[in-house]
Symmetry: C2
Subunit: 526 residues, 2 copies
């Protein structure tokens, strides 16, 4: 399901004052030197998939000399986001040819069994973390200029020469993050698995906090508005780095489409630039991100300054994207609303729900900004939208919401309608329980969607079930060896990828960091 937005001659509207504020808030990166921990090997087992085998302590490397075709896998003990350094020395005669190396960086060990030459996904192959290096002066201390996301480093010596061998020493990673210290109450529950889940969540978020909140540190490495919302919520109960959220808010408000629509994602290199991608749900949720920020930080000035941009996103939708039934117009297969990856997911009902959900935050903002007109307008509009949602999307026979002209039943539509509080709490609870039994074919694919499912369960009083589902989903990754959480996880399908190939899947992906938020907010004593 390749999904892009490409706008020819994309024009933007800029608020330079906002962009300047964002630029001034560019964070320093904290550096940490992390040494390699041990050597491992990975074998491809036809029945069980790839298997990791400990090979020995990192000290053993000093006894190893590498020539043509030799390779080694180095385990840094945990996921790193940073810059690799190592020293290559020689053994034997004076080197009479360059050393030629191939480096492969892997967040999870099974990436090392994947062959990039066979990559056939629809995202750029350039995201696969491989480098070819010629070392022409030896010994050489190499510090690669690019940042990598990895726990494992495979060094393959393609060639030296018969006259000398290479040795490797002082292998370390300068890991970077702008997160700072976890200021939140550490998770106090007694459940070991939940403790591990909290830890991996916090690490996932930390790794993704760089010059902006990045979606993933292996791939994309970009600020997405939808992801930001979940990162920010988790940040408030962990690192409490308010400035980084503030910076990102000003970025999105500082450069928009010409008509005021907010971009779904934002580039900060080589200069600040809004992407030519608009996703309705992300733009609407800006109201939620701003309210959350205001509630957590108490920063009234920023709230007041950015409230108009939040309201504008709602207004644009209400004024230009609704049909005669007071429902969001379906834009079908276009990449117009995210909700979740997943083959063929129809977005209409979900978009309606996100609009209602977001308006609730917009009303709070309008109240705080003393914008009486919008408070009244939104309060009346929201009832019309909820009624329309029930009338147009509810299927009494199936007992679920449907979406689009083909009346598709999906997990996403039910979850978002619950979060939008289109039904009362008990009806919502029954809807989710019914959905679990029915298990619609159009399933949830991403942790982003799973988060909203857990959130919806909690909202309608199913806190125990929510915790059970959280443990099943994120605990499944822990049991598969994760020390950071993944972009995509399907307990039943290891080969799941929205991109046509797992090779570009990301294994430290911010939208997967929310268990720390959920546990520290709703389950402090579990």
């Amino acid at each position: 399901m390749p999904a892009f937005s490409i706008i020819e001659n994309f024009k933007v509207q800029t608020n330079q004052e906002f962009l300047d504020k964002a630029a001034a808030l560019e964070p320093a990166l904290y550096e940490e030197t992390v040494t390699a921990k041990r050597l491992v090997t990975v074998t491809a087992d036809a029945d069980n998939g790839p298997v990791l085998h400990p090979q020995g302590r990192i000290d053993a490397l000093s006894d190893m000399a590498f020539q043509k075709g030799d390779k080694v896998i180095i385990d840094f003990g945990a996921h790193q986001t940073g810059y690799l350094s190592f020293t290559a020395t020689t053994q034997g005669s004076h080197y009479d040819a360059p050393a030629f190396l191939k480096l492969k960086f892997a967040e999870v060990f099974w990436e090392l069994t994947e062959d990039a030459d066979e990559y056939n996904g629809w995202l750029s192959r350039s995201w696969i973390q491989e480098e070819w290096l010629h070392l022409r002066i030896l010994p050489d201390t190499v510090r690669l200029p690019a940042r990598y996301a990895f726990r494992y480093l495979q060094i393959e010596v393609i060639d030296t020469s018969p006259k000398y061998a290479l040795k490797f020493e002082q292998i370390f990673c300068t890991s970077v993050s702008s997160a700072g210290k976890d200021q939140g109450r550490p998770y106090q529950g007694r459940d070991e698995l939940l403790k591990e889940i909290d830890k991996a969540s916090v690490k996932t978020l930390k790794e993704c906090m760089q010059k902006v909140f990045e979606d993933g540190v292996k791939r994309d490495r970009r600020l997405w508005l939808g992801d930001l919302r979940l990162q920010a919520r988790t940040n408030y109960v962990t690192f409490q780095n308010y400035d980084l959220v503030k910076r990102c808010l000003y970025l999105f408000a500082g450069m928009t489409f010409k008509d005021g629509r907010m971009s779904a994602c934002f580039f900060h290199e080589p200069q600040l630039q809004a992407d030519d991608t608009y996703l309705l749900d992300y733009a609407l949720l800006f109201a939620s991100v701003l309210w959350d920020y205001y509630e957590a930080s108490g920063d009234t000035e920023t709230m007041l300054e950015l409230y108009p941009a939040a309201a504008e996103q709602i207004d644009i939708c209400l004024n230009t994207m609704m049909d005669e039934n007071h429902t969001v117009s379906d834009q079908g297969e276009a990449f117009w609303c995210f909700l979740d990856w997943g083959e063929g997911l129809n977005k209409q009902a979900g978009a309606q729900a996100v609009l209602i959900y977001s308006m609730r935050f917009a009303i709070r903002l309008a109240e705080a900004a003393k914008d009486e007109r919008r408070v009244r307008q939104y309060a009346s509009e929201i009832e019309i939208l909820k009624k329309a949602a029930r009338e147009q999307f509810w299927d009494e026979t199936q007992g679920m919401f449907v979406s689009g002209s083909m009346r598709q039943v999906s997990w996403a539509s039910q979850v978002w309608m619950v979060l939008a509080e289109v039904l009362d709490q008990e009806q919502s609870r029954q809807l989710l329980l019914h959905t679990r039994r029915f298990h619609p074919a159009v399933r949830m694919v991403t942790p982003y969607m799973y988060h909203h499912y857990i959130d919806a369960l909690i909202l309608c009083g199913e806190e125990e079930l929510a915790l059970e589902e959280l443990k099943r989903f994120w605990g499944g990754m822990i049991q598969a060896g994760a020390d950071t959480f993944w972009e995509v996880y399907d307990p039943d399908n290891r080969q799941e990828s929205p991109y046509g190939s797992t090779m570009v899947n990301s294994y430290c992906h911010a939208w997967s960091c929310t268990p720390a938020y959920l546990l520290r907010t709703f389950y402090r004593h579990k």
Copy 2:
């Protein structure tokens, strides 16, 4: 025929004063900015081999945009030794993934049809000039840190992303050489082919004059004593860069094997270091290099200071490497004496001839140094060696010299016996003519050996034939499109390589530069 010398725990003897002199003579490199000239394509024609097709002016590049799988070949118009720079810009949306490029540098266009993954030669694959680059911030002005030897640059865009394309501009090479200006009388002959041969020779030498006289700028990039001799001779009639020869002489004399034997080659990076390779003929020829330098420069001080090292090479051979017949002991298949590449060439007779040849220069040096004892000793010894050569190696039945216990007949043995003047001039002339008719199976492979063949023809009065052979051999390369001369050229076999694969053959190789010396010395008015 893999041939290496590897000495465990190699120990050297150092003359720090000599090394300091060499270090102080490290030359500056002259830089020249050379822009790309045109676009070409290369097709692999099954019958005729690869074919080059002009594609258009370099300006056409500004209209081209590159995405996944696109490639372009850029022709710099002539061979370059230097540093590539280019600017990559984008077209389309803001880049949302790195650009991933593969660059291939080629001295001759057919290198572009060779697949490095199929390389199976015995030299390091690291010499194949390929780089993989990720451009992570765009636009980007790239200046590759490594020096390449190339006329053609192929840029293959492995991937961008569907959202943007790459454009390339400001492609240029900062070409480097320490040669300076051609100070020699330009070749004055009227023959167009000879003019072209002279020009390509001078360019070949110029490219290989760097911090030392390099053997080849694509591969090895090292100072070899045998190659130095031919480069220096050509240098005296062209660039007249005496200091660079002086530097190289001091290097070889400044660090030798513990027993005084001179290394066949010398490294100057990361610090000065003699290689653990001894080649008898190269060491003996130091006397010739020193005499040539003295004769050309008149630098008595250097001659006097280095004469002992030159004589020592002769003495070591006379004292330790002779058998009871006054012939050099055959060391069979070991890599002990170079003469030429070529399958199974026996070196014994050639080594004897090089010893005699070199002693003639040693005698001149001894005379200039007023070392009466050695003058007398060498003068008497040389007669014994010549007599032994005739007695042990001359085969009356075949009318040629044989070599080794298997009495091998090779081109190399005949040529070097002529240069050693073991026979009188007419006998030598007859020997060469007979050898041409007989055409021994153990043939000449390298231009290094061909140079000595031409030199031998001139020495015995066959100047016309020498010129004809020079035109056939070096002119053949010109006709195949060479603007610099190659390491290996067999008019009958394009696939000739001493290394098991043409992929590591070098196409700007210093030992091939001697036509400028020969033409400017012996054929000024042809």
